[in-house]
Structure formats: structure tokens, C-alpha cells
Amino acid sequence: MDIYTGPVGSANLLQQIHDYSPGISSNGLFWLVSAPHDAVQVHLGSGTASVQMTDVPVLDAHDIANALTGGQGLANPPIPPIAAVPATVSFDIEWSNVLEQAKVTNAMQGFTGQFWKTGATIKWSSNQAGFSFDSEAPDPTRNIYSVIGHEHSGVFFH
């Protein structure tokens, strides 16, 4: 979850001022949090799903470069090192309005399954010392790409 000073649609690293994630676990789990089962609702028959979580503890690494380098910054482009600070995020994501349905198999990435390309909206907020953010009302026109499905990967890939 990233925030930029540029206009909507911009995702310029040099304009990024907040980068929220749970961090990278020592075992390599990337930006994942364990969630209560009922935080996620999936209804593939109707092509809908939702995820709702409140006050999830995360880190604000300021920008994706510092998020990925553990606060070391970058030499090129020049991104100064910035230490992450604690924050919380809340979000409500809704998938609906099926645009396409297909079975997808990708042997190189080792997954197969039934997928639905859909519309989607999000309403989210963040809170931390000295800053809070509230997104606009859910707006289907802001969606770039959204998918739900049921897949098998790795040892389940067949």
C-alpha cells in the first residue's frame, strides 16, 4: 500500500512518501499477514470476493526501495536510507462484475486453476505517529487488474 505526492495514476518512486507492508519474514514470506478465516469471503459462483481487516500492524518504510533493502536506500536512483516506523492499516477490498473466466495453466510458474477476471474497489486508511490517510470512496474506475480464483501450485500442480 503506497502513497505518492504525484497525481492519481502516478507511482513514481521519487514521489513516494509512504510504503506500508508487513515486511519480509526471515523464512522469505513476502509481505504476508496471517488473517482470520472470516476476513476473506469468496463466492466463485457469483464471481465475488472480499477482504476486510482493521488496524493491521505494518511497517512504513517510506518507499519501496527502503522496503526491499531493509532501510538501506539506493545508489541509483538516489534514495536515501530511511528506517521503517510502525503503522496500522485498515482495508475493505471488494471483487465483483466478472469480465472473463478461464482455466489458466502456467507450467513455468507451476500453477493451474480456474480464474475470474473481475472489477474491484478498495477503501483503505492508515495511521501512524504524525500522519493518517483516508482513501476516496470506493471507485470501480480506479481498478487496473483484478482476479479471483482457485488454484493448485507446487506439489498440488497437476
Binding site: 506500508y20 504476508l32 493518517s132 476516496e136 487488474y145 483484478s146 482476479v147 479471483i148 480464483g149
Partner: protein
């Protein structure tokens, strides 16, 4: 490998019109059998101390189902990618 850092994350698609058949794996974990979701949304909102709207980008998702853990055992859990 963004900025030289190896991560297990495939962006769903960088193109609005890309067909479903060309998506990357939405799951952040392997050896997985279950429901997945992914979403990429660009929008705006209001932030403390800023008179004009701020832009946001969210690349998020979920995984709910069975997987093989590092312990070699089957587990059933729900994860959210933030």
C-alpha cells in the same frame, strides 16, 4: 528481482487489457491448493498535512486454503498480501 532483491511475488499484470490466460501466479506461497485473489488499484485520498489529494497504489491479494509448510505438514490458513 527489484533493486537486486530476490522476492517471491509476480505482479498479476502490468496491462489493463492483458487476457486472463497470461496472468502470473496470484499466490505468494507455493505448494498451495485453495482460493486466491489479487488486485491492483490506483486512486487518491487525503493525508494529514497535505492540502491536495495524495495518490495511492495498492497491489494486494489473499490466499485461503491448504499448503505444505516448512515442517512438511499440511496446513489450512488464510493469508493476506499487503
Amino acid at each position: 528481482m527489484p533493486f537486486g532483491v530476490p522476492v517471491h511475488h509476480f505482479p498479476l499484470s502490468l496491462s489493463v487489457g492483458k487476457p486472463l490466460s497470461e496472468i502470473n501466479d496470484p499466490s505468494e506461497i507455493t505448494d498451495f491448493n485453495g482460493f486466491v485473489g489479487g488486485v491492483h488499484i490506483l486512486g487518491e485520498g487525503t493525508g494529514t498535512g497535505f492540502a491536495t489529494p495524495l495518490a495511492f497504489q495498492t497491489d494486494m491479494g489473499f490466499m485461503q486454503g491448504e499448503f505444505i509448510g516448512e515442517d512438511g505438514q499440511h496446513h489450512n490458513r488464510t493469508f493476506v498480501f499487503i
